[in-house]
């Protein structure tokens, strides 16, 4: 039995150590906001925060989470930057099909947590690993800047 801290709550999970965190979130805890995309950490759809860092949950074995706190798209709205990013996302109507957007929001929030005033190059460095096949990249960038403005 593993004990994980997810979105501020302690959760008991009966899963093998080598099961990816994404499987645990979706299949054991019914937190299905986090999406399965490529399964090899190349698209960013499954991004969650682990110990404050954006992590591809499809590649992180649940046994390696340890005591690090996990935040998912279901809980990120309770954080200061997460709430602003989500607000900016709605105002900017960023999503098209929406499949990658949970991951985009998680990466964007982690960016602002570490760097509240990112320039374009910082946004590129943080967001380049989050793919969007609808091509919402321009709206993603605009929304991040708008979230920054809300913090100011």
């Amino acid at each position: 039995m593993l004990t994980l801290t997810i979105n501020g709550q302690s959760r008991e999970v009966d899963a093998p150590d080598d099961m990816p965190l994404l499987w645990v979130l979706r299949d054991h805890l019914n937190l299905v906001g986090t999406k399965y995309g490529c399964g090899i950490a190349q698209c960013g759809a499954c991004t969650v925060h682990v110990g404050g860092k954006p992590v591809r949950s499809c590649q992180l074995a649940v046994g390696d989470v340890g005591t690090r706190a996990v935040v998912t798209i279901e809980g990120v709205g309770n954080t200061s930057h997460g709430a602003k990013v989500q607000q900016a996302w709605m105002e900017g109507a960023v999503p098209q099909c929406g499949y990658c957007q949970a991951g985009q929001i998680m990466s964007a929030t982690a960016l602002l947590d570490g760097n509240p005033n990112p320039d374009d190059s910082d946004i590129d460095a943080a967001m380049a690993g989050n793919l969007c096949r609808c091509g919402t990249y321009i709206r993603v960038r605009r929304a991040i800047k708008s979230a920054v403005a809300k913090s100011a």
């Binding site: 150590d17 080598d18 090899i40 950490a41 190349q42 960013g44 991004t47 682990v50 110990g51 860092k53 954006p54 992590v55 591809r56 590649q59 992180l60 074995a61 046994g63 390696d64 570490g114 760097n115 190059s121 910082d122 590129d124 460095a125 380049a128 690993g129």
Partner: protein, 456 residues
């Protein structure tokens, strides 16, 4: 006049003899230890060959299974994705391609008809059942140190396998390398053809380690440089070499280039799990060696290997000391001057999500780049190979995976990212070109003609 000719002739003979002597001294992988050796039957200490004590009572096949893991026959006698021990693995050497053969007990295409004597001749002397010479890609100059009992335990295990019909692939070698008979001459010079001789000036633990490293594990076949005749040059024992397109690193006790600054526990963990915190994880051929061979050894045997490795004399090489501090969290800081903009762009999109801008992976220690020898190798050979081939290891901890990017990214892309990674996280940035990467692809390729392989 006669006198001068005489002096010249004598000098030439002296130089030739000196060179021959130097060559011969370079044959023995254990001569560095210097002590006096005895035949195994005259050794007074407890048994240092065979299986460890806890398996001493096991049946022959069980013992053979342990020894075949320790000797890692499987790594080379299995083609990628192929049936274990059915052969077909390609060795790309400077003069062509050699394929490993089927050692399942199939009577037509395997070793099903081998007698014990024929099997021993193959393992100790590199002579196959039809009398032809094997190429020393088969490490018989190392296996020659195996006892008859251990070699025959391997045979007993192999004969329990399901026979697989897998005819040998045709080697592709240029003249004169395609003349197998010439190897008889090579063997006279380079194969000692003698069984392991314990060194009575060394501990039992050292001797067990020597047997594991030399007779079974044949570490030197990758880690020791080769001479002009492609035989191991033990004057620079374990100082590192390029094998199959990957660099087998310096594992001498040199503090900068080798593993002299590793502690015993780190070496133990790296051998037994293919990973040690602060030194990263093994990929490529060493990853296979960890997963197929070293991870099966009992702890006492791994400790013996550590003891043996500790005693290898230091040899410097072109490798710098590894950088052990992480890179800055922001991509804008760090070795910007040396950074490659294409490399940085690729790193941001493809690599940073697991390796992080600091190089310390939030996902798994196996993906941490800080302190890894390959990242601190200014040739970036193994970084490029890892990017091309990815990592897919099955460890006791579960699967360790990195995608193979070779099919999806160009040679220029891979060169750029390897240059960026070594500059940002290592001691010195590499200067690989797309052409270098194309060559590396060919060296590690398992296709006889890389040009025709889908996406290389």
């Amino acid at each position: 006049m006669k006198k001068i000719i005489g002096i010249v002739v004598v000098s030439i003979v002296a130089v030739a003899l000196g060179f021959a002597g130097w060559l011969l001294l370079g044959r023995d992988p254990m001569s560095f230890a210097g002590g006096s050796t005895v035949a195994l039957e005259d050794y007074k200490g407890s048994n240092i060959t065979g299986v460890p004590a806890q398996l001493a009572g096991a049946d022959l096949v069980k013992r053979g299974e342990y020894i075949i893991h320790a000797a890692d026959c499987r790594a080379c006698h299995t083609a990628p994705g192929g049936t274990p021990f059915a052969g077909g693995f390609a060795f790309n050497v400077p003069f062509g391609t050699i394929y490993s053969t089927n050692i399942t007990p199939d009577k037509q295409t395997g070793i099903g008809n081998y007698t014990d004597a024929q099997f021993l001749a193959a393992v100790h002397k590199g002579i196959r059942a039809d009398g032809e010479n094997l190429y020393p890609a088969m490490p018989y100059t190392s296996y020659t140190y195996l006892t008859d009992d251990d070699a025959l335990a391997i045979k007993a295990y192999l004969f329990t396998l399901e026979p697989v019909h897998a005819p040998a692939k045709q080697d592709q070698l240029s003249w004169p390398y395609n003349q197998r008979s010439l190897l008889a001459l090579w063997n006279v010079v380079f194969n000692l053809d003698e069984r392991f001789r314990p060194d009575t000036d060394q501990s039992r633990q050292w001797n067990r380690g020597a047997y594991l490293a030399e007779a079974m594990g044949h570490c030197g076949e990758c880690h020791t440089p080769r001479n002009f005749a492609y035989a191991l040059d033990n004057h620079r024992k374990f100082a590192g070499a390029l094998t199959a397109g990957w660099r087998a690193y310096n594992i001498t006790s040199d503090k900068d280039a080798g593993i002299g600054d590793w502690n015993d526990e780190d070496i133990y963990l790296y051998l037994s799990t293919g990973h040690a915190t602060g030194h990263g994880g093994a990929a490529g051929p060493m990853g296979e060696a960890a997963d197929d061979s070293l991870s099966y050894l009992v702890p006492d045997d791994v400790h013996a290997l550590v003891t043996y490795l500790r005693g290898i004399p230091a040899h410097g090489s072109d490798l710098p000391r590894t950088i052990t501090t992480p890179a800055p969290a922001s991509h804008k800081e760090g070795l910007v001057a040396e950074s490659d903009t294409l490399g940085e762009k690729l790193f941001a999109g493809v690599c940073a999500s697991c390796h992080d801008w600091t190089g310390v992976s939030p996902v798994t220690g196996y993906a941490t780049l800080t302190g890894v020898r390959a990242v601190n190798d200014p040739s970036a050979t193994n970084v490029a190979q890892t990017v091309i081939n990815g990592v897919d290891r099955k460890t006791a901890k579960g699967r360790i995976f990195m995608p193979a990017f070779g099919a999806g990214y160009s040679d220029d892309d891979i060169a750029a990212v390897a240059n960026y990674v070594t500059a940002r996280f290592g001691a010195e940035g590499a200067h690989l070109t797309g052409r270098d990467v194309a060559d590396l692809r060919k060296l590690a390729s398992q296709h006889s003609n890389p040009e025709e392989a889908p996406h290389g």
